[in-house]
């Protein structure tokens, strides 16, 4: 059916504030109904209040230990204001935020405002931006709100995030948003274990596959023989054995110990958001996850992605998207039938799921989709040279075409890495592109559209994706702490990701993400820094360039004001969500002037991803893998933005 056109007129819709209040109340009703039988912990009911935001000039937050009940078990959690997730904080772009965080624990704590641009001393990373919040004290965060969108905040101290210290944050824009909706819900995905973070890490250090109960067994071996024949099966099994790798390694911590939560409720708890048929519902999906990648879908509904990491993107209609720890996506759905829809977030290894329901009345539920088989890694994930993979990148062809390539400083960069051009020679499509830009505002009002001719990939000025051609790894110098290197790394942003590659559904790709408006800094990066993601599954070591944080305490240096290309090369066999504090990463996904900006970027196995960064935030900033245990194991660096003594004299 044709998308309903919403007039951008206040009187046409009930005021959004009013709606929020109402939906908040409805959501509360719905969720309480499901919660009460399962939950004797009265505090827990208040977590549903997370849909009722805290706002204002000064907000008080208290971090304390609480009992937390999941289904029939009770454990000890650490909460913000007594709930998991903590309360939604709702601020307005342009306001001055004052957030007083009181530590009622017996250990230091901290709050990091994930994705927010703020002064470095307000960033909340103990050991990088401040000393932490000692027990019994209050730390006041003060910063101007300089952006809008969906974000979240969490503890950056040890394993506290795993114990429940995370909450959503909504920053309302000054300008009206370029899309319309009738109601909105925050959907916080998380993972909960009754084992302490230290036990999780300790188990993994002692046995890398501790939580993997989906390894290949004798039975699967015989099934594979029956399907593919003896020799191919044997060759496949033996090649993995020879490499001492496990192709079933998708999640370090699995459903064996995790209960996957949606807004703090287990699949049985079934968080429910209510709607009226025909309404346009905005879901602010936040992966406040510690160790889990989710594949999110709502069977029966198309989702229109309108924001990624809080930033407006040109709407993309998808059936499913993969969300990594710390990422956020805002999607708009339009349920027209009077029925329930399952919000289904299956883990990447298929060992479990988080689930909730969109329903027209409390108590409704819809079918839970069938369990999909767990995926397998391939030789491609190992960075092995694939059959038919042309080594075109080796002939430097990309370099020759690139007029800007020669003048660049590329310290530490593999000479074969082609430098893309952000401004390719004008082609006949550029006129069309201009038209598209002029018509931008009109299209902003039609987010539900299935077909947007103006937004086809080919119509915009495309830029070259760094690493589009395979790049050969230089000799492995990452040491014993790194198990393998990707012999060839290549950009894989056009792939949906392992486990979704054969999906009949339309899955969101990183190459689909295009900023709604071009960001002001369109400079070509003047410098490139390459960093390798390294690790060892047998010893559960995780690092950058083979060095854990304590082995490489010298910061990564960005010159203040420079435009720098930061290239991530994943030598491991796992996906890693990389998060840079304090500055945006403009994902170099080929979108030309419309590069989307993100605070967290997933890098697939054997992938090479580049982001362009405008180093406009002087200070020391954390840069790390947002898989919490990877970070704790040492996959962490400090990025320092400063003027160096050479530039200062000029």
């Amino acid at each position: 059916m044709p998308p309903k056109r919403i007039v951008q007129n206040e009187t046409d819709l009930i005021s959004r504030r009013l709606l929020l209040k109402r939906t908040g109340a409805l959501g509360l009703l719905a969720a309480v109904e499901h919660l009460i039988p399962a939950c004797a912990w009265t505090e827990a009911t208040s977590h549903v209040g997370s849909q009722t935001p805290l706002s204002g000039d000064a907000i008080d937050l208290t971090i304390s230990e609480q009992l937390f009940r999941v289904d029939d078990r009770t454990g000890t959690a650490i909460t913000i204001n007594g709930t998991i997730p903590g309360p939604v904080i709702r601020l307005k772009e342009g306001q001055q935020a004052t957030l007083r965080v009181t530590n009622r624990l017996t250990e230091p704590t901290s709050i990091h405002w994930h994705g927010l641009l703020l002064p470095p001393e307000m960033d909340g990373v103990p050991g990088v931006s401040f000393g932490g919040i000692p027990p019994g004290t209050t730390f006041t965060y003060r910063f101007p709100v300089k952006q809008s969108g969906t974000y979240w905040f969490h503890s950056h101290s040890g394993g506290q995030e795993l114990l429940g210290v995370y909450a959503p944050m909504i920053l309302d824009p000054i300008e009206p948003e370029p899309f319309q909706y009738h109601r909105e819900y925050v959907v916080v995905l998380s993972d909960w274990s009754f084992e302490s973070p230290d036990i999780l890490l300790s188990n993994l250090k002692k046995q890398g596959g501790y939580y993997n109960f989906q390894k290949r067994t004798a039975r699967e071996f015989f099934v594979d023989i029956a399907r593919s024949g003896l020799w191919p099966t044997l060759a496949n099994y033996l090649s993995w054995d020879r490499m001492r790798m496990d192709p079933t390694d998708f999640a370090d911590v699995t459903g064996y110990t995790f209960t996957y939560l949606m807004n703090g409720l287990s699949p049985t708890g079934n968080w429910t958001g209510l709607f009226r048929p025909g309404e346009r519902v905005r879901l602010r999906i936040i992966a406040s996850v510690n160790m889990t990648f989710y594949d999110v879908r709502i069977p029966g509904l198309k989702m229109t992605v309108v924001q990624a990491d809080g930033q407006n993107v040109q709407p993309v209609v998808v059936d499913e998207f993969r969300i990594g720890p710390a990422e956020t996506y805002d999607v708009i759905v339009e349920p027209v039938e009077d029925r329930a829809y399952t919000i289904f977030a299956e883990t990447i290894d298929r060992s479990g799921y988080a689930r909730g329901t969109l329903a027209t009345r409390p108590g409704m539920s819809a079918e839970i989709p069938a369990h999909r088989p767990r995926p397998l890694r391939t030789m491609e994930d190992m960075g092995m040279k694939m059959e038919g993979m042309e080594m075109k990148g080796m002939d430097m062809g990309g370099m020759k075409k690139n007029a800007h390539g020669g003048g660049m400083r590329m310290p530490g960069m593999d000479p074969s890495g082609d430098m893309p051009s952000m401004k390719p020679p004008d082609d006949d499509q550029s006129t069309q592109n201009m038209e598209h830009r002029q018509h931008g505002p009109e299209m902003q009002n039609r987010p539900g559209m299935q077909h947007m001719p103006g937004l086809e990939m080919g119509d915009q000025r495309r830029s070259k994706i760094p690493g589009a051609e395979p790049v050969k790894h230089s000799p492995d110098d990452h040491g014993s702490g790194n198990q393998t290197v990707a012999e060839y790394s290549q950009n894989r942003m056009g792939e949906p990701g392992r486990g979704l590659e054969d999906s009949p559904r339309r899955v969101l790709l990183y190459t689909d993400l295009k900023s709604l408006e071009p960001y002001p800094d369109q400079r070509e990066p003047e410098r490139a820094i390459e960093i390798h993601l390294t690790g060892h599954m047998e010893r559960y070591m995780w690092s950058f360039d083979g060095k854990k944080y304590w082995e490489a305490k010298e910061p990564i240096h960005f010159r203040y004001g420079e435009r720098v290309r930061f290239t991530f090369v994943n030598d491991t066999m796992m996906e890693h969500p990389l998060h840079l504090h304090g500055m945006w990463m403009h994902l170099e996904n080929g979108a030309g002037e419309y590069l989307p900006r993100k605070h967290t970027v997933i890098v697939k196995p054997a992938e090479r991803v580049s982001v362009a960064i405008t180093a406009d935030a002087p200070g020391r900033w954390a840069f790390h893998c947002h898989l919490l245990l990877h970070m704790e194991a040492g996959m962490f660096r400090v990025v320092e933005v400063s003027e160096n003594d050479r530039t200062i004299s000029s």
């Binding site: 002692k206 020879r242 702490g481 240096h557 020391r620 003594d645």
Partner: protein, 314 residues
Amino acid sequence: MTGPYPRDRCYASVLAIVLICLVGQGLGARGVGAQALFGPSLPVPWSEGTNNTSSTASRRFTATSAWLSSNASTGQERTLPNLSPQRGWPSPVNDQENRLYTLIDVLEYRPSTGGGQSPSDYRWDVEGWYGGDYNRVWFKSEGQRNTAFKADYDVDFQLLYGRFIQKYYDFQIGPRVETQTFRGRNVTRGLGVIGIEGLVPYNYEFESALFIDQNGAVSARLSLTKDMLLTQRLIFQARFETNAAIQRVEEFTTGSGLNNLEFGARLRYEIRREFAPYVGVSLDRSFGETATLVRREGGDPSQVRFVVGVRAWF
């Protein structure tokens, strides 16, 4: 790329800063000015010594100084971040933790077989470590009774330093004590150990060691184990072990040459990852001089034993 700074350069930088501090006390006009910019509430380590002359100091410290001097020279009233981490700040991550691991790989009872010539007995094989990712202190203990290789009781204990090398192996070095009992008489010797332990291609756990005893007698041990998953929790473990020696050490029932070969097959069920009861069978046979010595001591150089035990770790 940012590489780690050469250590000596860091030292040089610290030295330089100390010197500058001393000089700066005298002509520290800029230093004072810089401090005033920050105000008293923001402690600035090194601020006393930061001025233009410190440009040779290491990056971390010059960053601060660059900011300060840039301000001093341009007179801009920017609020500048303090780039140095302060004393007392914790590490942002705990990636240096030491852990203790103990694996009881074999702890088993071996019921008597046949007409009493091989009585029921037991065996253990325990190892573990304390340490981090690269450096560990290893401890190992093996003990058994009535083996085809050594008569009566045989107990040994090793305490080794281990260093993580070549991605998959621990290089181990340290002392070992071995005690054997023959008809109530104890003999004990001390040995030096150099070993390699780790995971070889095709996922075999590999353990090898070279022993030199107090009298210079050289022996060696090699073992390989391989796990095969029948189901996620039912696991078949194949085990191979062999011992060899250069010199004949009669006191310890060790002949020169190949001493023994042992094949084991154990089927365990992992109730938890950490705890798995098992049943199995072990074939142990000694050869040559060793077999002769075992026979002379009243042992059986060729044994087939059924075993029942538990594998556990913590």
